[in-house]
């Protein structure tokens, strides 16, 4: 299965066929999600209209973790089975993950100012997301730091995996260090505690972000494959 899709040409063909569907799904979800988020959802009795920030903030935070997990899985596959495509997927994911993490931080800050009265607090959740953001940046920097691309790919794959193991530890230690953030209110064992009318925009936006990721990552992977091909041709040009 993995080997079947690992062929770049086959991947290109498949990806080109899937992309329009993903794009459509993304646009539909964004349209519906934004309608519910901005116009057709109730105002929270505590948070007022700032609850609307949550429809971006929470899915962005989910995506931040999702992308990192995807990157770690791809890096592991690339390391263990030496799949070039998995390596490219990890590389293509990093900027998207970093963008979502950035959004989670900024929207969190924009929510925190009216609610907590400050743009930033050194609270456990915020801090661990900030650390996650640094991990993304570190990955991209390390990846780019070598003249020989293979070296950067291998080194950064190791970094992602080390980070993956370390993130829960960071999270735990920071939790212990200081906390102010409210507890999770959607993904709980006893069911969500927030109003169902708010779940609709939340999940629509989450789906939109998810489709956004899959569409964009395919585009970026195809681009990386072309870059690799260009590099191969450049080598031939130099030696020919």
């Amino acid at each position: 299965m993995l080997h079947y899709f690992a062929n770049p040409t086959r991947f290109q063909r498949l990806s080109r066929r899937v992309e329009p569907w993903l794009l459509t799904a993304m646009l539909v979800c964004f349209g519906a999600g934004l309608y519910f988020a901005l116009f057709s959802s109730p105002v929270d009795y505590q948070q007022g209209h700032t609850v609307r920030i949550m429809y971006i903030h929470v899915p962005a935070a989910w995506m931040a973790l999702f992308c990192y997990t995807a990157m770690a899985v791809a890096a592991a596959v690339a390391m263990i089975w030496k799949h070039a495509l998995a390596d490219v997927a990890a590389k293509a994911t990093a900027p998207i993950g970093a963008a979502f993490t950035f959004l989670a931080l900024v929207t969190g800050s924009l929510w925190g100012k009216p609610m907590w009265g400050t743009w930033w607090v050194w609270d456990a959740r915020l801090t661990s997301v900030l650390v996650l953001f640094f991990l993304y940046l570190g990955y991209m920097a390390l990846r780019d730091a070598f003249d020989e691309p293979g070296r950067g790919a291998r080194a950064s794959a190791i970094l992602v995996l080390v980070g993956f193991v370390n993130v829960p530890i960071i999270k735990f230690s920071v939790d212990w260090w200081n906390t102010l953030h409210q507890p999770s209110s959607v993904l709980r064992m006893d069911g969500p505690t927030i109003h169902a009318d708010m779940l609709t925009p939340l999940f629509l936006m989450a789906a939109a972000f998810q489709f956004y990721y899959f569409w964009l990552v395919l585009v970026r992977i195809r681009r990386e494959l072309m870059v690799n091909r260009t590099r191969a041709l450049r080598h031939r040009q130099a030696s020919g």
Binding site: S109, T118, W119, W120, V121, W122, D123, T127, L130, F134, L137, G138, M140, A141, D144, A145, W177, N178
Partner: protein
């Protein structure tokens, strides 16, 4: 095209194509500052008190980090010899190098600083003054750093040595920059501090290119 434009275009092109280098300086700057709340605790008043100093020290260290790169590439691949032998005055080459160093590290540091002001809970009244001190101070870092970078070319552990040489020279900049913030908080006004920083900048601008150029000629001899 003038020699300045030719040199500037090359330096900017090189900097742009290796933009992760300058991005890493910024990341270092942010990470170094972010470590402090973990070290001293997240108490907002305490962070506000140490904020300006921490941010300035981190900016100093971040700028030093990128400094040994200023001439190293050209030194290693032989370009520096050719720049010394070019009909263009070496002082101009140095000025262009310093300018691009500032544009790719100093300026991004200034742009990033407000973010850290927020995170360190720095009072908003002194933001403009602190930004002014950074605007006047970071070019001094690049200028004095260029002297150190030229002097340590080819030395063993050049990077560490460079920081060791240049950081003490930058203490006055640090004192007057952080002092400017305090002066505003105590209602004294920061004009005197800013004037002093401006004076240091002009002095550095007048003197360091010649010193650096001389050191570079030594380095390739």
């Amino acid at each position: 095209m003038s020699a300045f434009a030719v040199l500037f275009r090359r330096e900017m092109r090189l900097a742009m194509r290796q933009s992760t280098d300058s991005f890493m300086v910024i990341a270092f700057f942010v990470v170094a500052v972010v470590l402090f709340p973990f070290g001293v605790g997240p108490e907002p008043n305490m962070l506000a008190r140490i904020g300006p100093g921490v941010i300035w020290v981190a900016a100093l260290l971040a700028a030093m980090l990128s400094m040994d790169r200023m001439f190293m590439g050209d030194y290693e691949d032989g370009s520096l010899e050719l720049l010394v032998l070019s009909p263009v005055p070496l002082e101009l080459v140095v000025l262009v190098k310093v300018l691009t160093h500032w544009l790719t590290t100093g300026l991004p540091l200034i742009v990033t600083a407000p973010l850290l002001f927020v995170m360190m809970n720095v009072p908003e009244d002194i933001w403009p003054v602190l930004l002014m001190t950074l605007l006047l101070g970071t070019p001094v870092l690049s200028l004095l750093g260029s002297v150190g970078a030229a002097l340590t070319l080819g030395a063993r552990r050049g990077g560490v040595l460079l920081s060791l040489l240049v950081l003490p020279l930058l203490i006055p900049v640090l004192i007057f920059a952080v002092g400017a913030g305090d002066a505003v908080l105590y209602g004294a006004g920061a004009k005197a501090n800013l004037m002093l920083l401006g004076g240091m900048l002009l002095g550095a601008l007048a003197l360091t290119p010649w010193v650096t150029a001389h050191a570079l000629r030594e380095a390739v001899a």
